[in-house]
Amino acid sequence: MTLLAPLFLLGLASIALPIWLHRMSTQSPKRERFSSAMLLEESTQQTYISKQLQYILLLALRILFLIIMVIAFAKPLITKPPVIVGGEGSVLHMIVVDTSFSMKYGDWLNIASETARQIVSELENEDLAQILSASNSVEILNNPTNNQNELRASISKLTSGYGRLDMGILISNLDRIVTEYGNAVTIHLISDFQESGLPSKFADLIPDSLNNNLTGVEIHTVAGNDISNLYIESVDRINTELEVRVRSNITNPVETTVALQINGELHQQTMETISDSGIAVFRFTPAEYESGENRIEVSILNDEPLVDDNHRYVVIDNTPPQPVLLLTTNIESLPVKYLTAAVETSQLGFRVEAIAVSNLDPRVLQRYPWLMIDDLGIVNGTLAPVITEYLNTGGAVFAALGDRSVTLDTLPVIDLAVKTSLLSSDNSTPNTVARIDLSHPALAETSGWRDINVSRYLNLDAGENTQTLVSLEDGSPLVLERKFDRGRMILLSSSLDNIQNDIPIRPVFVNFIAEAGRYLSGEHQLQQHQIAGDYLQLLQTGSAAGQVIDPVGRDLLSLAETHRSQDIKLNQTGFYEIYTADSENLVAVNTDLRESDMSIMSEQAISAWRDAMAEPIQTSATAGPVNIDQDSIEIWHILLVIMGIVVLAESILGNKYIGSGRGYI
């Protein structure tokens, strides 16, 4: 055992403190003067010994506590005994086995495992070996060893998942591992070598460490010549139809049957013949989708070596768009048109209901999750308290300023003072955006603010409760947010008529309205279709906490975990259900299509790869001494547990001791 911070051992001197305190307390028991001891008897003698033992034990526990604490601070390391000491000229064999999704094909994984075992059995006496599992990431299954049993046990742990192997990234990762190892290494790469897994540049397949301590890369392919795979390439909703594209890796035409299930019920089954290595399109016409999110599962019913990619999961959201109120003076005005177009284009799930402010019944406001006002100046003294109340009770408002705001000294509802009114002035030099708060949810996904020109606007005096999201070059705010009790308001300090600025016709406008609408309505973006192996961020659902149920119906989070923000690895295909405080969402998880593409590297390509790696191998085959593998493990956390136990024991014993009436501990 070694210590990283041995100076902390000076703390052992603190042991003197409990000893001194115990000594003091032992020397000064409670004494009373009494007239005569004639009638007394030494009656505590019997219990005294056991008490003394307890007392010594208590002292020992306290000293032990201090010792453990001091040692924990000294950061002790336990050095594991060296696995093996390689002699001069020994080599570490890194056996890297592809465990990506494509390795589920037939018995490819078994072949890969068998190949790994073969390599292990052929190891020379002084050579070490290490098993690595390669998929989305590289996992080291054991430390370098020449223990055959350990290596075989590691090989037997190999399983293929749903991840994707990118050969370029793998080589890069192996390069780093080899460089860190620092001694002679031979890599044994066992994979199907899909073309889809190759990097765009061939040079990325050559490890840099070949010029250092990598003595060679041996390629072991598990894929045969006769490969047949069908997989669903896409499922698209086109009007009332569902279009399913199925791709074949089979060199002959093949009759393919595809079935469609909607919400777990078989809806339709169709058969088509796919030409050799071609694509077939299957069309389904579902009668009616249910309201809300629909689970669409498309399956290929053919029997083939890789069946896990025969299913494709899609979520079709059939929720009717919710209405959003647009208050205006003229429902035919340009701002109304621009806002309506932006909301409906953005596929927010809202439809705009424009209404003249003179026709508004204030009681209907609460029906809308948020509302828009094309000119905040149209809000009169009667309506202002109604909208303020709406905001205070959780409503949200997006507003712009138009001609009716020009004459105001203070804006209604938001209660902001107008410093300068440039809305009606003829400012020939347009202002541009100088600063954008991209951390704000309403702006995070937007771009193109720098392209807009603002010639007229109201220079507002943003108070303490108002946050400026976008400001112009002269420092005046262009977009502001004001929070109310439970609601919020986003204000554009210019108009939306494409006269005083060109915002409505710029690409940023649709994005901005979409994000602002999503932010104001409380809707948050959740990617409904994801790839297996990716991570689901619960934050995307609009809530940092929630429960996730995997495709087989298991709760993935414990009750405690549901209160925290979680990133959940999607390691299965199917539908994940996400429940948060205010929403229920479905996420369809499918395999990476590139893993289903069974186009394998040609033999010529592989031999070219081998050749490319051969030359440096000859020049760098200088095997150095093998490291003694001395992994060190920090044991402070173990000490922490022991310390906890000691504290508990001390508390119990001390309490018992006090309870027994000694009173001078």
Binding site: E32, S36, S43, Q45
Partner: protein, 302 residues
């Protein structure tokens, strides 16, 4: 019997009140006079020195006791006889060992013993009895020969007042001393806590009893000795020997009360066996009970 109230003169009999008085004579006077005032209300008690009968004058009688009124009427000389005439000789034996210093109240046992001894001396003096005293621990520290002379009382009170508790207890010494220096029959009052072997102690008393002395043993015990009240184990230090004994709360609660009762009974039985009186005194109680016991004792011996 009337109860003691704050306005009653007998309130002065309370030990803690007496402790506030600095002069032992004042204390004794306060006790006795307060006590006597209380007695008027009781038919049970009277002075032992009361007139009982006349007898013809005989040669050697003190001329002071001739009733000259009777002589004037009958021309015969008669002597007035008073009860207690034969016991008008009292010696107080006050234990001044270190154990007497124990006290859980304002007044410790020794102070209480001083008050009691002084009161008895004063009471006896008031009855014209000769009063003497022996202050002892493991040795005789002070001896005042009994005398009826008025100045002698002050000497006795002074001896009592000057005593300080220290050292151990040895009852043989004072009793031997008494036997050596006093051969006249009278009353022997022993004031002690009697932390000793009852049999050994009574062996010292026995010669006095055989010589016709009336013996009364006042055993003074503090409430803290009768019921120490320690709930936890405690290290107790003997005031006389300095020896420490660690005792458990359980012993104090269960065993000690039995032992102290056995010891008191042993002293009592031993006293009875030699014809002595044994009076247990709780030092938290007023002194009048002791004086009452003393008078009852005198009445029985009349």
């Amino acid at each position: 019997m009337s109860s003691i109230s704050q306005s009653s003169p007998t309130r002065l009999l309370k030990p803690d009140v007496l402790a506030q008085l600095s002069n032992l004579k004042i204390i004794a006077r306060a006790v006795v006079e307060g006590f006597l005032i209380g007695l008027h209300r009781s038919p049970l008690f009277g002075f032992s020195q009361e007139f009982v009968e006349y007898r013809p004058y005989a040669e050697g009688d003190d001329l002071r006791f001739i009733d000259w009124n009777v002589y004037a009427r009958s021309e015969k000389t008669y002597i007035k006889r008073f009860l207690g005439e034969t016991n008008s000789h009292m010696v107080l034996l006050l234990d001044s060992s270190a154990s007497m210093e124990f006290g859980s109240l304002d007044v410790n046992k020794f102070q209480y013993g001083q008050f009691l001894a002084a009161s008895l001396a004063f009471l006896a003096s008031k009855q014209h009895d000769a009063v003497g005293c022996i202050i002892f621990d493991d040795e005789v520290r002070e001896y005042r020969e009994p005398s009826t002379r008025s100045g002698k009382l002050m000497g006795v009170l002074h001896a009592i007042d000057n005593a300080t508790p220290s050292r151990g207890t040895d009852f043989d010494k004072p009793f031997q001393h008494f036997c050596e220096y006093s051969n006249r029959r009278g009353l022997v009052v022993v004031i002690s806590d009697f932390y000793c072997d009852a049999e050994e102690m009574i062996e010292g008393v026995r010669p006095l009893a055989f010589s016709g002395q009336d013996i009364i043993l006042f055993q003074l015990l503090d409430p803290g000795e009768i019921n120490p009240g320690f709930k936890e184990a405690v290290l107790l230090e003997d005031l006389e020997s300095g020896k420490t004994v660690e005792v458990s709360g359980r012993f104090i609660k269960e065993q000690y009360p039995k032992r102290i009762e056995q010891h008191i009974n042993a002293i009592h039985d031993a006293a009875i066996s030699v014809g002595a009186d044994h009076i247990l005194v709780d030092t938290s109680e007023p002194l009048d009970q002791c004086l009452r016991n003393y008078l009852m004792f005198r009445q029985r011996r009349k």
